[in-house]
Every structure is written in structure tokens, then in C-alpha cells.
């Protein structure tokens, strides 16, 4: 009896999770790639094999280039901010000061609140005659169409993502700040190094692995942005705030162009996969070692 358990137990343990992962991960994964070779122009029930047709359509579509440009502009707007600013805040909070818990709670609050509520709150700040434009006018500028002007919409959305992410990455930095040897700071104090010099020479080199980790995970989540755009701009105006996941959503679930949406998904897949492989192989190696 016992040997029966010993032989099959590992597989029985893995079975439930395995079934879920096969049905809702591995099959869809290969199906995404498969669907990208089919055309759904004629009928959603009768797709035709068109080889690389969807990819050809992709690279000849101006909207695709617009969307990819948006996605990367958004990425490069969001990531540096989410890498540097939370580190700065974590260093400040890590000083021996009062009210630390209160600061942490307030700065972390945007992280736990639903992204939909956050986006609605910002939509209200961004309103044409809203409070942000009041400040613009007080400082002598013209009111800005934060979400209605194609020049600004993408950046307005990026601000929401940054605002919502700061507390999250700050906590990651705080956890690894605990491992920086305190005597190095004391040595700096004896040398009379200032705040900036102290942290550039001690903290930053020590946190390099964490900085790299935050860079990759914030880049991955920037690639996946959806809710902010869905709630605030629907990708508009004139595709100015449309990024890749929103475009996939639109093509798949509104236009029912499953083949084209799948080709887009493969593009997203390849980009995120590249970031993830770097992340898992280099920065989170310890956690994923067999």
C-alpha cells in the first residue's frame, strides 16, 4: 500500500493544478499561436488558413505602428519613474523618523484600491473644467485637455499608472534596504559624506539586484496596461492612448477579428517573454531554483 502511494503520490499531488494549467494556460497558449494563422474576415464560424496573412496585415497597418509606439512611449515614461522615485522614498522612510507607519499606509493606499476607482478619480481631476485645469490657470497656463487632446492623453494615463505603482515598489525597496550593512553608513558619516553621496555610494550599489528586479517587473506590468485606458480614454482620441493590450481587446472582443488579435497577442507574448526570461534567469534566480 505504502509503495503505491510512494510511486504515484507526486503525480496525484500535481494533478489538480496540472489540469487547471493545461486547460487555462497551455492549451490557450498554443491556440493563440495557432489562431494567428487563421483569417476570420468571412465568418467567425468558418476561419480560413491564411499562413502569415495576419502578420502581413499587421506590419502594413499604420494603427499597429501607432499602437506599438504608444506602448513603448508609455513604457519609457512609466518605468524610469517607478524605478527611481520609490527608491528615493524608501530611503527617506528608512531613516529613523517618526510616523513611518502612517506614511507607508498613505503611500501604499493607491496600490490596494481598485484600478477602476483610481482611474475614475483621475478622470475627475482631469475634467475639462476640473481641479487640475484650475491649477493650470492659476499658474498662467491655458486649460489642457488631459484626456481629450491626442498630445497629452497617453501621458495622462501614464501618470495614473505611476501614481498607483509607487507604494508597491517602495515596499520592495524597503524590504531589501534592511539588508544593507549599517556600518557602511556609519563610515560615510565619519567621512562627512552628504545625503546624496552616501546613498549613491552605499545604497544604490547594494540594491542593484533589486533595482534590476523593479525595472523588469515594472516593464512587464507596463506592457500589460489595460484598465486605466479602458476606463479613461478607450484608447482615444485618434488612437493616441491605445496600447497593445487594449488593441488586442478591441480587435478580439469588439471586432471579433480573432486571427488578427491573436497575431497581436503573439507580438505581446514575445516582448513580455523577453523581459520575463531576463527577470527569472538573472534577478529572481534563487526563488526558481530546482
Amino acid at each position: 500500500m505504502f509503495s503505491f502511494y510512494k510511486k504515484y503520490a507526486p503525480y496525484l499531488f500535481l494533478l489538480p493544478a496540472g489540469v487547471v494549467l493545461i486547460v487555462f494556460f497551455f492549451i490557450p497558449f498554443f491556440q493563440t499561436i495557432g489562431l494567428s494563422f487563421f483569417g476570420y474576415e468571412n465568418s467567425i464560424y468558418d476561419p480560413a488558413f491564411i499562413g502569415f496573412g495576419n502578420y502581413k496585415k499587421l506590419v502594413t497597418s499604420p494603427v499597429f505602428y501607432k499602437v506599438m509606439a504608444n506602448t513603448f512611449i508609455y513604457l519609457f515614461a512609466v518605468v524610469p519613474f517607478l524605478v527611481i522615485f520609490p527608491l528615493f522614498l524608501a530611503i527617506l522612510i528608512n531613516q529613523k523618523i517618526r510616523c513611518v507607519t502612517l506614511y507607508k499606509i498613505l503611500i501604499y493606499l493607491p496600490v490596494i484600491v481598485s484600478i477602476v476607482v483610481a482611474a475614475i478619480a483621475f478622470k475627475w481631476l482631469y475634467a475639462q473644467n476640473g481641479i487640475l485645469n484650475y491649477f493650470m490657470q492659476t499658474f498662467g497656463y491655458n486649460p489642457v485637455g488631459w484626456l481629450t487632446d491626442p498630445k497629452y492623453s497617453l501621458y495622462s494615463v501614464a501618470i495614473v499608472t505611476i501614481w498607483k505603482g509607487v507604494g508597491y515598489y517602495m515596499m520592495i525597496y524597503l524590504a531589501s534596504l534592511m539588508s544593507v550593512p549599517q556600518d557602511l553608513y556609519e563610515a560615510c558619516d565619519i567621512d562627512g559624506a552628504g545625503f546624496l553621496k552616501k546613498h549613491l555610494t552605499v545604497t544604490v550599489p547594494h540594491l542593484m539586484p533589486t533595482i534590476a528586479l523593479v525595472s523588469t517587473i515594472s516593464a512587464i506590468s507596463a506592457m500589460k496596461v489595460f484598465a486605466e485606458i479602458y476606463v479613461m480614454t478607450k484608447g482615444g482620441p485618434l488612437n493616441s492612448s491605445k496600447t497593445i493590450v487594449y488593441y488586442i481587446y478591441e480587435r478580439a472582443f469588439e471586432n471579433l477579428d480573432l486571427g488578427y488579435a491573436s497575431a497581436l497577442s503573439v507580438v505581446l507574448l514575445v516582448i513580455v517573454l523577453a523581459f520575463s526570461v531576463i527577470n527569472v534567469l538573472f534577478f529572481e534566480k534563487n526563488r526558481y531554483q530546482i
Binding site: Q31, A175, M223, L258, Y288
Partner: protein, 281 residues
Amino acid sequence: MIRKFVEKLSIHSILIFVSLLSIFPFIWLISTSLKGLDENIFAYPPVLIPQQFTWNNYVGVWYKVNFMGYFVNSMIVAGLTVFLNLLLSSLAAYPLARMNFAGKKIFFFAILATIMVPFQAIMLPVYLITIKLHLLDSVNNIMGYLGLVMPFAVSAFGIFLMRQAFLTVPKEMEEAAIVDGCNVFQVFFKVVLPMVKPTLAVLAIFTFIGSWGEFLWPSIVLTKDAMYTLPVGVNNLQGMFSSNWRFIAAGSILSTVPIVIFFLALQKYFISGENDGAVKG
């Protein structure tokens, strides 16, 4: 001495400023939600403290929108997601931490691979499969809930988190239980699982938050208003009350209350800085 004081003062001013930035969008939403009908919510200069303080907007949305229903739906979906994640992740993690078997490496890397592929890239076929399995709210409510939960019933993140926890359990505990006549499943449920309760709690809390805030998947699969979870219901306020920002604000704040209470009650899990292992990509 003076230098120390100036340093502390500037640190506090920066942190107070950032804290205010973090909560200001909510403060402004709350302020709007408490303003009466005769008060101009677009007043220049803006007025933070409502001049005609009223709860009417809250009463109004409460009667027009099925918040209690959305809340219950969110609870059912998040609760079931948490339960399945705890069970399936720890079951799958145990052999990966403790047993030697043929194909272990394949299982390990297959699970690791799922971390690298974003849900957004495979959501379309996931939806097609969900339709095939009839896990839709148009079939019945239970199938609807299952459709919301099943694609997130287990995560590689959870499996690896639990595996790390199992690796720290002393082997002697299990050996003693086997000598006492336990089979491997009894060892797992009665000896090993109780020893990793703190990690289970961490996994439960972060899975709950993730599931509670999920928006993309529910907005794809849900068709019936009665099945809406809170994020979908709140997004829907925009359409219902088009430019009635008093109601939209009141509804948004109302929907946020439960998760803020949850956060404040369990804040040590989020902000103690000891849950480095719970970092989720």
C-alpha cells in the same frame, strides 16, 4: 544639531507632500460625493469642504445600483479564488519541494514557464475555452462564478511561494509522522500544511487583493448586471450616470470602503517589509 533638524524637517515635508499626493484623488472624490445639488462642483476656485453637506448622493446610488449584489459577487469570486489557490498551489508545491520522481524537472520548468506568459496574451483562447466548458453567467450563476474563478484557480507564483515554505519544514517532522503510520496525504494535511500557515496567510491575502481588483477578465466574460463584481459595477456607473459626478464619486467611494477596511486590518502584511517573498510580477 541644526543640520540634523533641517534634515529631518525636509524628510518629513517630502513624505507629507507625497502622502498627500497619494490620497488627494480620493479626498477630492469624497468631497465631490458629499456636495449638494445646489452646489457647483466645478466652482472656481475649487471648494474642498462641501458647503451643502449631504449624504443624499450615497443614498441615491445605493438605491439605483445593486452594490450589495456586486459586493457579494466579489466576495464569492475572491473567496473561491483564494480557497482554490491555497489548495492547488500547496498540493502542487509539496512534491516539488520534497519528493523525487520521474519528470520532476519537466513539471518544474513547465510551471515556471507559466510565469513568463502574460494572461493578456492568451485571454482570447481562454475565453473560447470558457465558452466551450459553459462556464458562463448566461448558463447559470454558479457556472458564471466558476468562469470568473477557474482561469485564476492556481498560479505559478503561489506554487513557488509554497514550495519555498515547504523547503523550510524540518524533514524529521514528516519522518516521525510516517513512523506513526500516516500515509503521505495525512502527512501533508495534518503535519506539513499546519506548519506553513504564515505563508498560506500571505498567499491568501495577496490572492484576495488580486482577485478583488481584477477587471479585464470579468469585463470580458460577464453579461448580466446581477453577476457584476465591484470593479465592473463601478466602471458601469460612468455609463449609468453619464455626467452626474456626484453619484459617480459616491459610488466609487462606496465600492472602495470594504477593501480599505481589509487593508487597514491586515496592514502589517502589506507594509511591514517582511514579505519580500510575496513580490508578484
